[in-house]
Amino acid sequence: MSGGVKNTVLEYRKKTGVEPPKELTELVKEINKIKAKITNALKEGPKTIPEIAKEIGMKESLTAWYVLTFVKYDLLEPESQTDEGYYRYKVKG
């Protein structure tokens, strides 16, 4: 299909003039910040989602969504469970 076109994403942008929407580039910046904050919070040792949320100042449900998505993408992993039913997470590797 690409018929010899190299770097098709770049060529697509050049040919169509399409630019990424600002809200998406802002979202990516936000995701990167959240990722950095969460991994930073786990430097001292494994933490539960409420503990991470408290440390980084983010809503627990949003923290849960990102932590569990990062677990899915192998950035984080569950380590142990508390008596209250929470898992503690750590950075993988």
């Binding site: 998406l24 449900s61 898992y87």
Partner: protein, 452 residues
Amino acid sequence: MSVKSWYERKYYGEIEDLPEEEYDVLVIGGGIAGIQAALDLGDMGFKVVLVEKEPSIGGFMYKLSKTFPTMDCASCIATPRMAQVFHHPMIDLLIYSEVEEIEKKGEGDFRVKVLEKPRFVDSSRCTGCGQCELACPVIVPHEYDWGLAGRKAVYIPFDTAVPRIAVVDLDHCIYCGQCERACPTEPPSIDFTQVPKIHHLKVGAIIIATGFHLFDARLKENYHFGEYPNVIHAMHMDRLLAPTRPYHAILRPSDGKEPNNIAYILCVGSRDKTVNNPNCSQICCMYSIKQAQLIMGALPLADVTIYYIDIRAFGKAFEEFYQQAKDMGIMLVKGRVAKIEQKENGDLIVWYEDIENGGKLCKAEHDLVVLSVGLLPNKEIANVFKGQKLEVDDVGWIKPVDENANPVETSIRGVFAAGTALGPKDIPDSVIEGGAAAMQCAAYLSEVRGRH
């Protein structure tokens, strides 16, 4: 996303208009009913084209944990059939494609226009390794898991997708090119020079197996779905229970705690005139009982309470399945839930009418509430017929010509329907109807071709 919106985008080249292709039968919808119909027709020697709008075939069944009442693994049943239909010599698949228009020219002669959406991934080269997905910096809610976790803007639809090929979600792409650089094939499989293709099909008969939509639980405002994170719907729970689940355990979305006191509310969006759906959705009682049993297995210390109006255990071995749930200690409370309130720690207060104890208003505390949402018709398909009317009932389900004697033939001769396109039903009934529609289709083609 509408078909029209695909015409409004910018592409590397012009939209490709393909020459006419001829098939005996068009099957619309690659869920279990459509797959069954296509396989049966293919095995009978008919040349079939199956159109699926999503980037993988499989429909709804592959998302489920287990089937009821047999507790068989749903994806273990669905996946081999998906592979079988994909590799069948008599079946061609148009995946990630949508039927735009159908015109009946005469008996056994339908002309169909299908839009094949670009994946921006070369399917002949992509190995499904997922390197592009790891490299992509965008994270958005994954539809497959009903938003419980995220996916990237380029992604493999799910682990057992057929075909297991990545797809670029252009709506969330920032055109950074990370996916293309990460792709290990030479040249890379990411291909932004792809354009939509318009297929023109000439077919002898059509089977509609377009499935259903889930009831939007936000419409029941007193349950605060979408507002209280620990109010989820039953398909969320089915994903949490499935072997391919989004989380590493069954966790509640508000804070990642393992729930230990779970409530089910039945008939959410079914048997309810206030939301325009007076019908029973037929499967909610049983899928809730199935999930409750699975929760008891996965979380042995958890309490599970089901709030119901009636338990409709009408199928083979359903009553025994229901009794088994009671024996396992699942609590069943006859009563409509009036409202849900949220506590500061995310736990929920359920206010309900206790019918068996004089109808008094009671409240109970739970740490997760599951709404057993009903099924609604997928109405889009009725709009693609040009010059012919596809009859639907008052709710919008496809109406057969005769509910008793001819339950899979539609108001347009030569067009048949199967599965939940006709109304709510479970997996075995959908499979039976897929087979029945295939048989009726074969009889129709034999009749019209013999005559002309």
